[in-house]
Subunit: 328 residues, 2 copies
């Protein structure tokens, strides 16, 4: 039985709006068990009405909610009865829980998780995010912004963390690349040049070289390593530029006659969502003693279901143990 | 009379393919004069056939061509008879030439220009590039990749250089921003945080704060300052992501019935070219004693015409003198 802890409060949507995602994922996978953090009466009523087997969940009543107005550093002290803090405390007390899932405030989630759960020895917590390349396959960006101003040793940690993560997502020996200003090994700032040399001589790393911005969505890599500042610029810029291109195309699509107009607008909407990294899927924080999957604040039941299946993958492949092994 | 020097060799296209761009720009602006570096007989024949007034040009016969196979460091010594080197030598000997324009190899052009022409005192050469924002207005990225690994003082140089450049393009007091991982002043890596503080206290700089990747194409800034590594990642990533979005949309457009199909594909082609930073427009190198405008190697007559009008603006506003004044 894979055990997850799921925080159902603190997101933009209500618990009732998110619960269909939980029901769908648990119904499809009888080997999955969820601790559900939120309002007991409400959750219980919903799950019974939806005939979810009792042995697949346990509700932990959590009267309080962490919001974006809370100072991340104060949450541990001030909101022990929140779904977020009760979930983290539960993970701390029960190491058999594979993953904690929340769509609550990012800062409070990551700060509390690292402080309460503690870090895996010798490991820097890393923030990863999956994007879909042009060929439909996945690329993991590591790090997406948790670690700013770091050395090449940290970049090696991001690479190894990305490797282990993508293994949990079904890739045997993930191809790893470095984000740079040119594809040649000689290109890069001082950090990337040093990291390139370090990666080249690191055994067990399937390093395929540097990738430049133009090629991120069509490269062969499965893990793209970057310092957190560059990773943040990369992800946000991809989202901004792709949405800008879609909005330009939309102006013409709106002028077409039916049925072409509707068909084209629908396609553009799908393209738009494809690059909507903030609201689709989730970011994964690895390096605390329990892996954390963060869904976007605006997540709906579909997003939550996608995020839960990442968390289930993490549990099935025992990612926590794999990270300990990789860095022992 | 504004004098430009124009290298017509070393690009992917032939001199005959590029010359219509020269004819167009000179015909539209009788106050413009071009030294044309290339094959005398060929250029002369073309311009006479096109009735271009003799007093608007002088041909400097240049038998040799610099190619991408030439080592940039060797070009000065090995190819003195090339159009590129003869053009730079001409700019060195005649300070009344406002700007040198070339679509030849970037490395050879910039290395030779800085070495032969020399730098303006107290100035780091900076590479600038203009992009079109969603509202149709222009944003200058400074620096685009010439300066990797630099301190906040260099970023201030990029800001001032971008300011003077955009003034030459008709903006009175350009709004300046810093590329960062968040819009708040407290966001950034160490470099950006220090630069933010420095910019805030620098008089005469219309600094409006930080801009994150998602907002680059819809921000209020007219100059976006970034260290060259980040600038390169930014530009290339925007191009890659926008083109990726267009190629996804194209799949649906191709399945539409006529005339919607043709109309939509045409619009998508325009969107694609809008983000094709490598082949549209040009990059500007400022800080050598003559400003340099670099058109892309794949430039056609239209691109060359666009690049020549940037060079003409630089000449009309006497950008070289303005830079000396700004940094004196």
């Amino acid at each position: 039985m894979i055990k997850l802890a799921v925080d159902l409060k603190g997101a933009d949507r209500s618990q009732e709006e998110l619960l269909p995602g939980v029901v769908r994922v648990l119904s499809q996978d009888p080997g999955l068990f969820c601790y559900l953090l939120g309002d007991r009466t409400l959750i219980e009523g919903f799950l019974i009405r939806n005939h979810l087997p009792r042995e697949q969940y346990e509700i932990i009543d959590s009267p309080d909610t962490v919001t974006n107005h809370d100072n991340p550093a104060d949450v541990i002290r001030k909101k022990p009865e929140s779904s977020l803090m009760k979930g983290i405390a539960l993970c701390k007390s029960d190491p058999s829980i594979s993953c904690f899932v929340s769509c609550g405030p990012t800062g409070a989630l990551f700060v509390s998780a690292i402080m309460v759960l503690g870090r895996i020895p010798h490991v820097t917590p890393v923030l990863l995010c999956e994007i879909i390349k042009d060929d439909g396959t996945r690329l993991c960006i590591s790090d997406c912004g948790a670690n700013i101003d770091c050395g090449e040793d940290k970049l090696l940690t991001f690479a190894r963390m990305g490797k282990v993560y993508m293994q949990s997502r079904g890739m045997e020996n993930p191809r790893i690349a470095l984000l740079s200003n040119g594809s040649e090994d000689s290109k890069g700032n001082e950090l990337v040049k040093k990291a390139n040399q370090l990666f080249r001589k690191t055994p067990g790393l399937n390093f395929i070289g540097n990738v430049e911005g133009t090629d991120v969505l069509k490269c062969d890599a499965q893990v793209l390593v970057c310092e957190g500042f560059a990773g943040n610029i990369l992800l946000k810029t991809m989202e901004g530029a792709a949405k800008s291109a879609v909005s330009h195309a939309k102006k013409t699509a709106e002028k077409l006659s039916e049925p072409a107009r509707t068909e084209m607008l629908k396609a553009l909407r799908e393209v738009y969502l494809n690059y909507d990294y903030n609201s689709s899927g989730g970011a994964v924080l690895l390096g605390a003693n329990t892996p954390i999957v963060k869904g976007h604040g605006s997540a709906d039941a579909d997003t939550l279901a996608a995020v839960l299946s990442i968390a289930a993958d993490i549990g099935k492949k025992d990612l926590g143990a794999k990270i300990r092994e990789e860095f022992s």
